[in-house]
Amino acid sequence: MSRDTIRELDRRTLLTLAGTAGIAGIAGCSTTDSDGGDGGDGGDGGGSDGGDGGDGGSSPYTIGMIDSLTGSLSAFGERNQRGKDLALAAVNEVGLDGRELAITVEDSESENQGGVSAAQKLVNQDRVPFVIGAVGSGVSLAIYESVISGTDVVQLSQNSTGLGLTDFPGLLRMSPTGRTQATALANIIADDGYDEVALTYVNNNYGSSLADAFKNAWDGDLAYDNPHDQDQQSYSGLVSEMNGSGADAWLFITYQAEYATMVNEMFSNGYEPQLYGADSVSGDNVLENTPEGSMDGMKIVVPSAPVEEQNYQDFASQFESEYDEAPTAWSAYAYDCVVTAALSILAADEFTGAALSEVVRDVTRPEGEQVTSFEAGAEILVDGGSASDVDYQGVSGPIDLDENGDPVGFLQITEVQNHSYEGIGFIEG
């Protein structure tokens, strides 16, 4: 194991040296550069980890991806990787003007520190101009603030829904902001005829920002409003306080493990309120670990893929045949991140962060022709079309990245019926 690492390091050092020599060669207008024709991206030659820095024209375009392969968000990471693999296959089937797309994946360990070191490696060592990452909103922000900000590298988060990301226009994301979710929840609870609600949220940035957004959108009374800590073994005090508040509608903004524990405690305490939840409380692991019927009638708002669209259905059936399970919206976001990156590379004048950041929004938003696959988009771009001639309609929704780097939200309302999640409607934010 350690021996391998050493060997790899040696190889990397060697590659870096070779790359540096390559750049020096280009700079000196050496004749060995005859097959390249893309002198503009010398940085790519130096950073590409592919092992063939020498033969410019056919070497892949390498971008980076920071994912939660391990740690508390590893369930998202796995879904992301599946979406990414499918997208990469679709892109490379068509090719990027004769070249391939390669993605160097680094693990954030679902932690800020891990994410920042992964980004440093990708940006400073591999010199990728485009980084897909990360999952957790805190991790995405940490990466942006300490590595990306100040460079011209494009960062596109695949799964962050934190509200704070809107304030950083340079930090793009594929998943919709939580604000649409909070507004939708407030409307649903009011529409169901409740004028007071008991709210609890996980004591971190995600929980408190979503709770604040909900409180802004909610016109009724807040009978209970308290955070709870993550990873506690018992929430019995919490559920009895919520019961004590007298509200009949309870809203949970927390994670699956915490929520499953709370449901079990509500069940064993005999409480039966009307439940509402943010997307992070839903999951098969919650259904499996709560008593049958304990959540029936619960309504949850989840970021959703446009399940009625043809391109999503194609994606879903391909996903199912490959992995033997239905995809979630989180896989679809990762898929669209890769396709958006690939379209940007085709649309951009050169493979640099500055050029990519000029076109990345345009390939996803209107005025251009609506395309639902990479192949269709690539056709327009290869025929001489510019970024504004393409409007990619992703498998996760219309995307339409705005100036803040946020996509148009596409949400589904699901209800727990007979202990499983059933979709009962869509909201476009």
Partner: protein, 313 residues
């Protein structure tokens, strides 16, 4: 409300007590704070999960728990003990690094336990495949909402703790353990085989932790971090009670568990105090902070904990 919280406190305390006794025992005889203790609880819980999955319910049930669960409990206790003894034999015994070195080593061991569990069971949470229960009807008029499972946790903890008390006070091994905890050198020159006593200490301490872990899983959920997340609270209980003292650990465990679960009573504290504004209260998210605060205050007046003796440790 108060009765309900007290009942919950008793159940939560039962688990803390099972964890803290082992930690205190090992400290008094092996001489270091074992940070792998929390993950020993996790080992017990997951062993029980596997066993229960394999043996199933086995017919009847006591207090809503199938017979198979008690088999699983026994296996959980045994596995936790075996793992701890193997670790002691392979790692701790051969290390001659003093108590700080052993403490740091035990943190490493904790990571190893957790990593192995994570490899086998993923980092996701799970629960035993036991039907969740509704609160006991007879107690509802008093406002107490506990299930038969909660009662089972409490009763089992009482049985185990009583067993330990009998062992320590009335058996030969117990006397030797107490002798060794007081003064290991004197115990050895008196002819006590201290190595053997030490091994038994590990068995008992880790076994109780294993039982605590099994109940922790029944009470909340199983996850690879479950034991480690509880460890700080257990340390607070042990130190509050007086580290090294088994009875202190029991007392500390009950106090810390109670404070933790009774925190909701303080949510309206602003209305009772004169200067503080009415809407102000201590929220649930401060339950652990409050427990530690009380620990610090107690230690200011009794530096060796409630049951600690006069000597510094």
């Amino acid at each position: 409300m108060v009765l309900d919280l007290l009942a919950n406190g008793l159940i939560y305390s039962s688990i803390i007590v099972l964890g803290s006794i082992g930690l205190s025992l090992v400290y008094s005889i092996a001489g270091f704070a074992n940070f792998a203790h929390g993950d020993t609880m996790t080992v017990g819980a997951y062993s029980a999960l596997v066993t229960f999955g394999a043996v199933g319910g086995l017919g009847g049930a006591i207090l809503g728990l199938p017979f198979g669960f008690f088999v699983a409990l026994a296996v959980g206790i045994a596995m936790a003990a075996v793992v701890a003894v193997v670790t002691e034999k392979v790692v701790y015994e051969g290390l001659d690094v003093g108590s700080i070195g052993l403490l740091i080593t035990s943190i490493g061991i904790a990571f190893v336990y957790r990593a192995v569990i994570q490899m086998g069971f993923s980092s996701d949470f799970t629960r035993y495949d036991i039907q969740a229960l509704r609160p006991i009807e007879a107690l509802l008029p008093y406002g107490i909402r506990v299930t038969e499972h909660d009662v089972a946790i409490f009763v089992s903890a009482v049985v185990l703790v009583t067993g330990l008390h009998v062992l320590l006070q009335y058996t030969d091994l117990g006397r030797k353990m107490r002798a060794m905890a007081d003064n290991p050198d004197l115990a050895r020159v008196s002819g006590i085989r201290t190595d053997r006593v030490k091994l038994w200490t590990w068995v008992i301490g880790a076994g109780l932790a294993g039982a605590g872990g099994v109940f922790l899983g029944l009470y909340g959920r199983l996850a690879p971090r479950m034991g480690f997340d509880l460890l700080l609270v257990i340390f607070a209980a042990v130190i509050l009670g007086g580290i090294g003292s088994v009875y202190g650990a029991m007392l500390g465990g009950v106090l810390i568990g109670m404070i933790n679960q009774l925190t909701p009573l303080l949510s309206g504290v602003g209305a009772l105090l004169p200067i503080v504004p009415d809407g102000w209260g201590i929220g649930l998210e401060y339950a652990n902070a409050l427990a530690f605060l009380i620990m610090v205050v107690v230690l200011l007046f009794r530096p060796n904990g409630i049951a600690g003796d006069g000597e510094g440790t």
